[in-house]
Amino acid sequence: MSDDRSNMLEIDDLRVEFSTAAGSLSAVDGVSLQLAEKESIAIVGESGSGKSVLARTLIGLLAGNGTRTGSIRIGGKDIDALTKKERKHFFGVQAAMVFQDPMTSLNPVKRIGAQLTESMKYHLDLPSNIANDRAIALLRQVHIPSPERRLRQYPHELSGGMRQRVVIAMALACEPRLLIADEPTTALDVTVQKTILDVIDELRAERNMSLILITHDLGVAEGRADRIGVMYAGRLMELASAKDLFSGMRHPYTQALLRSIPNPDRPSHTRLHPIPGRPPDLLNPPTGCAFAARCRHARPECVDNKPPLIEGSAGHFFACHFPVGTPEGEAALAENMRAGVTGAGLSLDEAAEEFV
């Protein structure tokens, strides 16, 4: 990966830990990532993989019991080195975020107009009438009909899809160069999902923004992002361009995720392929690869040593000792199949899958 192009976002060895009553919980465990200008990346992972914590940490929303190490540079600026004055108008201007649930993302007692214009007034020091005009223009850009009337309305008078458009418009109010969308369509109807994603795509192209799209749905990530990162237990497992990832995935977890998507083209009563077991307990993380206990490729080595994230081919990173589609990986799988059990003790008996 070339570093000479100016990077919109640079994350270096980011770690986030939460101190809980049950002990220290490691939510993000050494994530490094670069995002170029105008580039979009999708972070995919299941619940508890740390993708939302990662997003919130990037925008400076770490909960009170969380601690962060590692550096974050947004637009070339280290967010820890910001002066007080710079910090005041940094988040919301340089980077903005769209949240998961539009039903709770808007303040129920404030009019749409007030919520849309407040950041423009605060950060850009715009007078009310100009901020209002800009708010109307923004609502038009996210395809909300009769925007003048909406400004006077309260959130409860709008549908979920409309509210998410408002939330997107709100995030874009101060023209950020980096947009972080944390599962922007998870709480919405399937029919509305596509239109919301289209709006984000369209605005990204118009405004030359960089985008981080957090999702648990590989289907959403496909075709919406230049690169895709797969997260598991707070670590990046695989990071590649969307094309490479779908055509030549290396990590068994990515493969398992794809296999678990039901395909309507297959005949009915075809067996689905769930990922056996559960994500690891982050209060007590395994010493080796976090996915080893659920992995079909797992060998004893996987349980003992954590594989580093290495660049297998140009721009294709993965953290696996026995990657899919390599001789070592195939050998490991064949060995496990022969034994009927993986190196981490997972039974590979198909019939047993139903009971895990």
Binding site: R56, I59, G60, L61, G64, N65, K88, H89, F90, F91, G92, V93, A96, M97, F99, D101, T104, S105, L106, N107, P108, V109, K110, E118, S119, Y122, H123, Y154, H156, E157, V167, M170, A171, A173, C174
Partner: protein, 407 residues
């Protein structure tokens, strides 16, 4: 006359506002319900009045004078020394010789004609005069105490709620010399004893507790102090402050109430201490309610959204979270309106403040049941009116309530 016009204008304005905000149906429902409550309460007082009992000597007087048992309330008010003609006039005047409905109708008719009866039956002092004299005093006392309570509770409640969400930490060291300095200040201005009690009983445990617990000290300090204040009975607070400020020091003169016409300084000077006592009594309640609601609302997603937008903490607390957090506070403040007539009894007694509270005690002690009946009716009307206003304020605080009432 002017008062009547003002009241009428206020009522009409309120009605117009209700109709505008909530629509005709809700307004009529609400006003009809309020009217029904007022009628039921006042009718109940009429019924109760007829049940007034008398002691043995008064019973003897009744038998002696050959009066029917229905004249008992009159005998109670007029005392054993009254003659038959006076008692009979009172019985007729108050409608005790008629059935309860006719009596109630007569009372309502009198009320609507502006005749509230006598404050003290024996000397024929009209109740309207007494109210004119005493109600403003208690009204000012109530107003100042509520302002004091809100001025203390709202900023402290907001601050405590904000502090509660911050990382646990120990008390910074510079607090300790400040506490010592404050203690010396109090000691020299009020007295060593008071300073020792105040700092020994309230602040020292908090500081020690915070030092070893390592929680958010701002929140714990405010919250614990509020809790201590909450558990001090109002008469203890009233007596201690009277001793400190009116007896040990002459910062407050116990010379009685002075109206605005006597000058601002004289007016405030004659009322600030009882108002402070009532205010301090209401502060911890308001503070804890606001803090709890604020803490809950600070957990909402829209707060995270506002933070991600880069809005300042002050902006988020005041412009986003404060308004939806005032619902419980409003409810309790609405219920406190009863203090306007009866709540200040203890404080008015301690400070020789001739307001409604002390009048009510006197009226009950002297068995002026006719006056008590009218006062109770007044309380009911005020209470219902205040809480109707509070109900409507909910719609201002939270527009979602508006959607449910108007549909």
């Amino acid at each position: 006359m002017i008062v009547l016009v003002a009241v009428l204008v206020a009522v009409l304005a309120l009605a117009a506002w209700i109709v505008r905000v909530a629509g005709w149906r809700f307004a009529l429902q609400r006003l009809g319900g309020s009217l029904l409550i007022v009628v039921l309460v006042t009718f109940a007082t009429t019924v109760l009045l007829r049940q007034v009992g008398v002691d043995q000597s008064q019973k003897d007087t009744l038998v002696e004078l050959g009066l029917p048992p229905s004249s008992q309330p009159c005998v109670a008010s007029l005392g054993t020394g009254a003659d038959v003609a006076t008692v009979e006039k009172c019985v007729e005047d108050r409608g005790l010789d008629k059935n309860v409905f006719a009596q109630y109708a007569g009372w309502v008719s009198d009320l609507l004609h502006g005749d509230l009866g006598y404050a003290f039956y024996k000397n024929k002092e009209p109740l309207t005069t007494t109210l004119q004299q005493r109600l403003p005093r208690t009204a000012w006392l109530f107003l100042y105490s509520q302002i004091t309570a809100l001025v203390l509770a709202v900023p402290l409640g907001i601050w405590a709620a904000y502090q509660a969400g911050r990382k646990p930490r120990r008390v910074p060291r510079w607090i300790f010399p400040l506490v010592l300095l404050a203690m010396l200040g109090v000691a020299f201005s009020v007295g060593w004893g008071f300073a020792a009690v105040m700092f020994g009983a309230i602040l020292l445990p908090i500081v020690v507790y915070n030092t070893y617990r390592g929680g958010p000290p701002g929140d714990t300090t405010v919250n614990t102090t509020a809790f201590v204040l909450l558990s001090i009975p109002v008469f203890v607070l009233g007596e201690s402050l009277r001793y400190l400020f009116a007896i040990k020091r002459d910062w407050y003169q116990l010379t009685g109430y002075k109206p605005w016409s006597a000058g601002v300084t004289a007016h405030i000077g004659s009322i600030w201490l009882p108002a402070l006592v009532l205010g301090l009594a209401a502060t911890p309640v308001y503070l804890r309610l606001l803090r709890a609601d604020m803490m809950q609302n600070l957990q909402q997603d829209y707060v995270a959204v506002a933070k991600a937008k880069g809005m300042s903490n002050t902006h988020i607390l005041i412009r986003h979270v404060l308004r939806p957090s005032t619902v419980t506070l409003l409810t309790v403040a609405g219920l406190n309106i009863a203090q306007l007539v009866n709540g200040a009894i203890v404080v008015e007694f301690i400070y020789d403040f001739d307001g409604m509270g002390s009048y009510l005690i006197e009226a009950v002690a002297r068995r002026e049941f006719f006056a008590v009946q009218t006062i109770v009716a007044l309380v009911a009307i005020l209470f219902v009116a205040a809480n109707t206003i509070v109900d409507l304020l909910y719609t201002v605080v939270d527009p979602r309530v508006r959607a449910t009432v108007s549909s």
